[in-house]
Symmetry: C2
Subunit: 238 residues, 2 copies
Amino acid sequence: MENIEENGVAKAKRFARLQSLERYSLHSYVFNYIRDAILDGRYKPGDALVETRLAEELGVSRTPIREAIRQLELEGLVISIPNKGVVVNGFSQQDIDDIYTIRSMLEGLAARWAAQRIDQQKLKELEEIVELMGYYTKKNDFEQLTQLDTRFHGVIYEACDSKVLKHLLDNLLRYVEQARRGSLKVPMRACQSLNEHRSIFEAIMKRNAAEAEKFMAKHISSAILNLHSLMGQNEKEN
Amino acid sequence: MENIEENGVAKAKRFARLQSLERYSLHSYVFNYIRDAILDGRYKPGDALVETRLAEELGVSRTPIREAIRQLELEGLVISIPNKGVVVNGFSQQDIDDIYTIRSMLEGLAARWAAQRIDQQKLKELEEIVELMGYYTKKNDFEQLTQLDTRFHGVIYEACDSKVLKHLLDNLLRYVEQARRGSLKVPMRACQSLNEHRSIFEAIMKRNAAEAEKFMAKHISSAILNLHSLMGQNEKEN
DNA sequence: GTCACATTAATTGTATACAATTATACAAAC
DNA sequence: GTTTGTATAATTGTATACAATTAATGTGAC
């Protein structure tokens, strides 16, 4: 009886997944699930990831769980000790700072290349995004602003026309996702951020590669500075 | 009869592996095997990776093969199409150029941080490496030089004391491994490379971060230039 | 009490079995 | 000859079974 019941639950979970997600493979579903859980803090650094528990939790078998874990391991989000298990790794504040420094360089590079290679369509897309940013900044709609920020940078990743650079930046951006979310929720920062985005867009539009790179690097650097001032306020939480 | 025989072969392969390799998990063994095969051209872009064939070839089951493939997928070395299969992706010349550009920035950053943070032991290690480089450059021993080059950069990755940056650079270096191997096999380049390493080492020793960064970035840039002149010579091969 | 050792349980590692999907081959219709 | 449909084979996707390793527990000697 219990077995049948449990099986029914698993089947139901699976069915819901197949409907919602565009029927990707289970391992990618599991990968996204665990990564998000780590990045928004549901799984904390030091937590052990037990395959059977995860399998039950997600209603799948251990095989896709293992595939996902191997990927997370490669990304450095978990640490696997052979025959013992895997634990959540997470990032230290130092790691996040490092990522921002690295991003300021690589995003700068992306902006430089984008200024050289962007096509009219993507240019128009950027323009629209910046306009919308102006709108939502006035409205103080931080959720929309975060999304637009992601899109703005995403379009540039595409426009720089480098598979490798895009791949690197996509990952780096994900890692600091939670830090980034908090960052924009300061009105001052949102306003400053808007101006920075404007400058970057204008430099790209003018095909001024050097300026685009400079502004973008500054933009990322000021993001980390802002993050630090936020940290300073709730220092006791550490 | 055949089954028993085949099983014997697989067992023998496995035994040899357990002896030689320090008894790591199978998936990491498989991962390294396939990655190396792709990077030194045994598996060519477009080749299909069939799980059962790989399993037989390596004398393991499909599970570790799949785990390894998921990792390769994340690294961008293979492309997986659900329910169809995975094909080797490899890197285009443009990708390699991009990687060198990215490396010149990130290695520069690593050198900058290394100049600020390196300890006496690693500093001494660097000094020894540079001395040995001088020795083997005179001897035209390119195999040793390649190894020393890897060690030189490896020490700096360690010395910069950034988990994230080290992780990124380790991967990038692996991707251009085969390109790099050819590059040093030009006497002129070896000599020039030695001088560049010397300058970088001296800047780090003097704790001159800006100079270390500048010299390192130049070093990587000249490596790609050298690579291009090599390409120019055997252009017909494409 | 605690240390050593054996026994059991929990967990990971690997292999295999089965299901689902896609590719291939071949025949019939036009 | 081309196309369409169907049966078959090949391959991937998933789940489960079993082996190996490690952690936990308990028991007896001292």
